[in-house]
């Protein structure tokens, strides 16, 4: 009987700490906007982006056991380009991603071809997204895109990958090339500073 009078306390929510290194932050209006939109997602607390280091930090309820893939998908969806992600669980366990470029078992490029083609974009966030889309593909070595020239310079192995696939991969993240056009919905969801003028 007495037990019925023992007060029960609501269990305090604990949080895992998530850190994502993002690439290409340059425009404060977009970066803060994405921070704001990220903050509105269910469960996410205390989002902060350090513009200087590109480090994005937030807390997430421990009982949800958020994983790296979910975090990176969400970061991607918000318009950032994630490079590495670390989750520190409430028990001290640390889960870390491997740099995506390193994750791909890159074959040694035996027949290296150099090429360049036009890719539409505007800013440093575009640069990070375009270069990652290219270098994430097996058979692509170096990829460098410049806003001034609107050109991507590539080293790739034509025996491993067809150049059309590189065009498609870049268009898939929202950037038009001569041979592949980005889906309108993906283009519309790019951060404001990345919305290049379309032909």
């Amino acid at each position: 009987m007495t037990l019925a009078f023992i007060p029960t306390f609501a269990q305090k929510t604990t949080y895992d700490k998530v850190e994502v290194q993002v690439d290409g932050l340059g425009c404060p209006f977009c970066a803060y906007g994405l921070e704001k939109k990220f903050k509105e997602l269910k469960g996410i607390k205390k989002v902060r982006i350090d513009m200087e280091t590109g480090l994005m930090k937030f807390n997430y309820p421990s009982d949800k056991m958020i994983d790296i893939e979910t975090v990176e998908n969400q970061v991607d969806k918000a318009g950032y380009t994630p490079v590495t992600t670390t989750i520190t669980r409430i028990n001290g366990e640390v889960v870390a991603s491997v740099n995506e470029e390193e994750m791909i078992e890159k074959e040694v490029l035996k027949n290296v071809d150099k090429t360049s083609f036009a890719v539409r974009g505007n800013c440093s966030m575009c640069k990070a997204r375009i270069e990652k889309a290219a270098t994430s593909l097996a058979g692509v070595g170096v990829a460098t895109w410049e806003a001034e020239t609107q050109l991507i310079q590539l080293e790739y192995d034509p025996e491993i990958i067809d150049i059309k696939e590189i065009h498609k991969a870049i268009a898939k993240v929202g950037h038009d090339t001569k041979k592949a056009k980005a889906n309108d919905e993906i283009y519309d969801n790019l951060p404001p500073c990345c919305l290049y003028k379309r032909n």
């Binding site: 340059g26 425009c27 209006f29 921070e35 350090d50 800013c123 404001p192």
Partner: protein, 272 residues
Amino acid sequence: MKIKILIELIFSVIVFTLLSACSNTPQWKYERTIQFEDITPLGIAKKGNFLWISDSDNNKVLKTDLDGKIIETYENFDRPMHIDMDGDNIFIPEYGADTITIINANKRTYLPIQNELDAPAGIDVNGQDYAIADFYNHRIVYHTNGEDLTFGKKGKVNGEFHYPTDIQFANNLIYVADAYNNRVQVFDKKGIFKQSIGEEDGMNAATGIYVTDKEIAVTDFENNRILIYDLNGKLLQILDENFDKPTDIIINNNKFYVINYKGRSIAVFTIE
């Protein structure tokens, strides 16, 4: 006969000189750079011999002297953007909190807003009237006679916005930095579109604006330029040195202060 020719010649010279003087637009000339170390400025306001600067990366607002020496620091904002001064009040749009905070001495209050904002990026205040660039709602909130007038929606045609970042009402008109449409749009005080400025000038993110009774100055963020127009939209001058991702601008007492967001500095110009 010789005297007549001489008089005509003198008259022509006087007329030519007068016409030349009239068409000579004042040109802005670089004076100096005020460099900061620990702050990343984004917005600027000025009163008397003091500058007010929003440090959005560090969520602070600072009062400095005209050499950038910090006099007072106010903390705990949520991404303060293009600030404005009216009387002794500093109006601070908090992009992350959807509020306009007012600082008067050490007292903080909030501007009561009838319409819900989504990332206010800029404000201009004149007495009881104010105008806000409502970034994610792609619209302007203009408050006058105790009522809110809202206008604009997401789009590219005249009267529509693609992320407005800064605003000013002057010369009985409302001027908007329509950032990612890369232009300035001008409206009357009923929100009726009047003019688009700068669409042909290759801007890449028109992030900040300042309007006087003679000129319109715009920061061209990605191209590191300042474009100066007359009130009819005629391009008068392009400044393209001493900038590093400019976000805001103010003209006062024949000085021209440009915030360099990435450069962490203020570039000061003067009339040549």
